[in-house]
């Protein structure tokens, strides 16, 4: 019997609607519920990490004023803040949250192809988060090894949390990777096999291209973290010497010999660099759709955008050692990795130009999602430019391990993706909940966050040029630091606390609007993509009622001349007398 594509099967409603509260909201296999579960868990753990950064900033801005922040705790805060934000918040939210919600809706399918595995993915993720947070409460506390967990210090006494914290961290990571793999296989297979009739790959919204490529990167790169986590666990528990060199610790010669800490760094960054793009590519995709929808104009250079995503995906595997310039390497390697790093700026720059050109002569609607999307172009360009500094070996050497680096990666993969997260939550909120959020509060949230993050991170570049090292608990009486640096640190701390508090505006807004928001209707933004064309808002189990949608056009038919509306949804067949595209903006 020949294989029948999912879109062509006629026994459509094969899912039985869940009836009990538990199967509907707890052990749910519905991608939308799983997405929301992922989203809430990720945001919760993100709030924890935000709290940790507030504690760190208190210490840095006003050293020795807070007796409850000891050096040990400071290092634990740094480590957990970094790991949570990068992996347990951003990766989980973009792929587990937005991926889960948008993939089936945007491709026009009823659900993921393996719903049971999708449900397991969330529950294993939840366990990994619990294991991670448990480490605060075990003897010795959480690990303070820094989010890179470099051995040998990560597992030797002297670093906080070497008793249990580091083990729980490694276990949490391994669990996360298992959860991600289950989810990731689902996302890839669903996009490949469950697309509605007429939904070719080139008619996918860019959101899905970004999520798709990021998932592939995750599937192939997370094993590197898994390998390093397993080997480090064995070094710690079984006394092996994969990474541990012969070493004296606290006056004692340890049993380890001959291991290579550099080996760990290679494995870690072989995962760590693609991880940047695992976070960035979904953001690129989502922001493209936000810009196009709210500028009422097709995305500039769709094909080029797709090619750029493919190029970034491919290149992201050959730049990892630019994180290791100061670890010592053959100069030719440094040259190689600096070159590949600078080459990856080309497709990235293409994307930035195309976003700007999408806005050019657009009918720009300054809605809340649009503000966040435009804000992203600023912060991302900013972080990208400092990346060019750090990608060059000779410039990186003096700047390495200073606040310049902290400023760079926070701009490029902290603030930028988070702005897209906010923009996307505001954008899809009416579809997810059926209600509109409060626009005024949303705008306040944007402006205070956007300007506030500049108040935090711009001065950090300057601190970096002064040579202020990152990761230090306190500077003490340091000669090279002028008085102004201390003042700056105070102002950064005040800004950071302020921006942290502003996020409660967002929480307040999305919680209160659940009940108080006005009815949004099925398509408040007049968007073309399929998720806005569902028969119900919010979409019901099975998404599409009795018949799956059929796709007739790409996702960017905005402002097509001759059509009675300024957008044509993807499931509208070709209309006589209306040109199928705007000749002037072809690329």
């Amino acid at each position: 019997m020949a294989y029948v594509a999912i879109a062509d099967r006629d026994h459509e409603l094969e899912h039985h609607d869940p009836t009990t509260f538990i199967t509907k909201y707890i052990w749910s296999q519905d991608h939308k519920v799983i997405a929301i579960q992922y989203g809430i868990t990720a945001m919760f753990v993100g709030l924890v990490a935000l709290g940790l950064s507030a504690m760190m900033r208190l210490q840095l801005g006003f050293p020795n004023s807070f007796s409850f922040i000891t050096p040990t705790e400071y290092y634990q805060f740094i480590t957990m803040h970094g790991m949570i934000m990068v992996i347990f918040l951003l990766t989980a939210l973009f792929l587990g949250g937005f991926g889960n919600y948008l993939i089936p809706l945007m491709i026009g399918s009823r659900d993921m192809v393996f719903p049971y595995m999708n449900m397991m993915s969330f529950w294993v993720y939840l366990v990994s988060v619990i294991v991670l947070l448990t480490s605060f409460f075990v003897p010795g506390g959480a690990t303070g090894a820094g989010w890179t967990l470099y051995p040998p210090q990560a597992i030797l006494p002297g670093t906080p949390g070497t008793e249990w914290g580091i083990l729980l961290m490694l276990v949490a990571l391994a669990l996360f990777i298992v959860a991600f793999t289950m989810g990731g296989l689902n996302y890839v297979t669903t996009i490949l096999q469950a697309r509605a009739r007429g939904m070719t790959m080139m008619r996918l919204p860019l959101s899905l291209w970004g999520i798709f490529m990021a998932t592939i990167l995750g599937l192939l790169a997370f094993p590197a973290l898994f390998v390093s986590a397993v080997m480090m666990t064995l070094d710690k528990v079984a006394g092996t010497s994969f990474f541990m060199p012969a070493i004296m610790s606290m006056g004692e010669v340890l049993d380890h010999e001959g291991g290579s800490p550099i080996l760990f760094q290679h494995l870690f960054w072989f995962f760590g660099h693609p991880e940047v793009y695992i976070v960035a590519l979904p953001a690129f995709g989502l922001v493209s759709d936000l810009l196009s929808t709210h500028a009422r104009k097709n995305i500039f250079g769709y094909r080029m955008m797709v090619w750029a995503i493919l190029a970034i995906g491919g290149l992201s595997f050959v730049v990892w050692a630019h994180h290791m310039y100061v670890s010592g390497m053959n100069p030719y390697f440094g040259f190689f990795f600096a070159t590949t790093t600078l080459i990856i700026a080309v497709p990235t720059a293409i994307k930035v130009y195309n976003w700007v050109l999408t806005l050019w002569k657009g009918n720009i609607q300054l809605t809340v999602p649009m503000l966040f999307a435009i804000g992203f172009i600023f912060t991302f360009t900013h972080g990208g430019l400092t990346g060019i500094f750090l990608g060059n070996v000779v410039v990186d050497l003096p700047l390495s391990d200073t606040y310049f680096v902290v400023a760079h990666f926070h701009m490029v993969m902290g603030v930028s993706p988070i702005l897209v997260v906010f923009g996307s939550i505001y954008h899809w909120y009416p579809k997810i909940t059926g209600r509109m959020f409060n626009e005024t509060l949303g705008k306040w949230h944007f402006w205070l966050t956007f300007l506030g993050t500049y108040a935090i991170y711009l001065p950090m570049h300057y601190l970096g040029f002064l040579g202020v090292p990152r990761r230090y608990f306190a500077m003490g009486d340091t000669e090279f630091m002028p008085e102004s640096a201390f003042l700056l640190n105070q102002s950064i701390t005040i800004s950071a606390l302020f921006v942290g508090l502003v996020q409660f505006l967002f929480l307040y807004n999305i919680i209160v609007s659940l009940k108080k928001g006005k009815e949004a209707g099925p398509n408040p933004w007049k968007a073309t993509t399929l998720e806005w064309q569902t028969p119900d808002t919010p979409p019901k189990h099975g998404n599409w009622g009795h018949e799956l949608p059929v796709v007739h056009r790409w996702a960017y038919d905005y402002g097509v001349p001759g059509y009675h509306d300024d957008f044509i949804p993807q499931n509208v067949p070709a209309v006589a007398g209306v040109p199928t595209h705007d000749q002037d903006t072809d690329t």
Binding site: N186, L220, G239, S260, L310
Partner: protein, 221 residues
Amino acid sequence: MTLALVLLAIIMATVIGWLLRQTLNSQPWDANDPVENAPGRGVIDADPAKVGLLSFLAVVTSLFALFLSAYMMRMKLGDWRPLAEPDLLWLNTGILVLASAAFQLTRGAAKREQLRTIKVGLIVGGMCTILFLAGQLVAWQRLNDAGFYMAGNPANAFFYLLTALHGLHLLGGLWVWGRTTKRVLTGADVESVRLSVELCTVYWHYLLLVWIGLFALLLST
């Protein structure tokens, strides 16, 4: 990292190559574009479970490739003392080949709808796999008795680690095998298990391939 890079480059080239082909000649902005409107464009003619399994094998390939890369990097350092692999491993390899052959037979039988052969093939395949795993445990025991402890040398540690990893993947396969076999023995028809049998076969062949690669590397170093 060369090995991992080469294997990942092959995987990425395949993925990106396929995706790139979807973009060529296409003018997606034109709703009447004949390329985009061609029936069946971009559809992979395979069951989602098969596509899922192949994607999973890509992940496993990445995992093993990275472990082997780490092996080769660690090997170059001064304290590496190769261990003497027990001859038992040759026997184990033979048994795993038998398991793979049994699955191949089962797959053929599933295509020809021969229920009896499917039953026999599944049981033989599964038993051979269990025997292989038992054999690996005995090999561990012998190495341990001979003084090759895990913490003694990275070569030993890698040996235990890699064989354990491979064994765990087989155990995962056995779980699916167990469910399939139970269905067959309790009277399911051929149609309903054909896909499972086929997926098991692919998975076992793949793990045999991984084992042969691993074994060759372990023997040669």
